[in-house]
């Protein structure tokens, strides 16, 4: 069965304290892995797409990496405005998108 598992469920960091969020997946015919950010009361906001193992993408303090079994979202020197829920999703060969339950990130000033 296709599955996307994110860990940890919640993470509290001090401002400037770098860390990583994990997304592990089992899916047949992976056609892309996506990271989204979701603020309370809003729809998810697209961050990155990764297609093949070894690929990396960066945006400001965020860097996403991909292996054959998992993806990491690295957050460097986070600021309070980085607080949000971060969602990982995978696209199957059939175009169906499967989301993980997310990691709630809270950055303390």
């Amino acid at each position: 069965e296709d599955q996307v598992t994110q860990s940890p469920e919640a993470l509290r960091l001090q401002e400037g304290e770098s860390s990583s969020l994990n997304c592990s997946y089992t899916v047949s015919g992976l056609r892309g892995l996506f990271w989204y950010r979701q603020d309370p009361g809003k729809g998810p906001e697209f961050l990155f797409t990764l297609y093949s193992a070894g690929e990396e993408k960066e945006k400001e303090r965020l860097k996403a990496t991909l292996t054959k079994k998992e993806s990491f979202l690295h957050i460097t020197a986070p600021k309070p405005e980085d607080s949000a829920t971060y969602l990982c999703a995978v696209r199957r060969w059939s175009d169906k998108i499967i989301f993980g339950k997310g990691t709630r990130l809270h950055i303390l000033p």
Partner: protein
């Protein structure tokens, strides 16, 4: 506006009533997705449209749920005989289905409460 819009933003209905939720995708986006998000849960895939056809309806929870898309644009999600377990935020997303570009752009969602 340039983004995905959804209406209504909030809907409170009585158990057993039918509801219609509307999604206006970004102009030119050919793919449209419906998801359901319950408190503390991830996004649950409901249905996907490519143009006006729905290749994958496997996520619809029961035959009380249906969706259609007309003119390759607006989509409506209909829930008949609503139940309390249908209470959730219903999110719509659209994407431009071109090579290498499958990122989805989400609307703000419709919060459905069944009393």
């Amino acid at each position: 506006g340039a983004g995905v819009s959804q209406s209504p933003s909030n809907k409170v209905t009585e158990k057993g009533k039918d509801v219609e939720l509307r999604c206006d995708p970004i102009s030119g986006h050919t793919a449209l997705y419906w998801y359901r998000q319950s408190l503390g849960q991830g996004l649950e895939f409901l249905i996907y449209f490519q143009g006006n056809s729905a290749p994958d309806k496997s996520g619809l929870p029961s035959d009380r749920f249906s969706a259609e898309r007309t003119g390759g644009s607006v989509s409506t999600l209909t829930i008949q005989r609503t139940q309390q377990e249908d209470s959730a935020v219903y999110l719509c997303a659209s994407s431009m289905r071109t090579s290498g570009s499958y990122e989805q752009y989400f609307g703000p969602g419709t919060r459905l409460t069944v009393t």
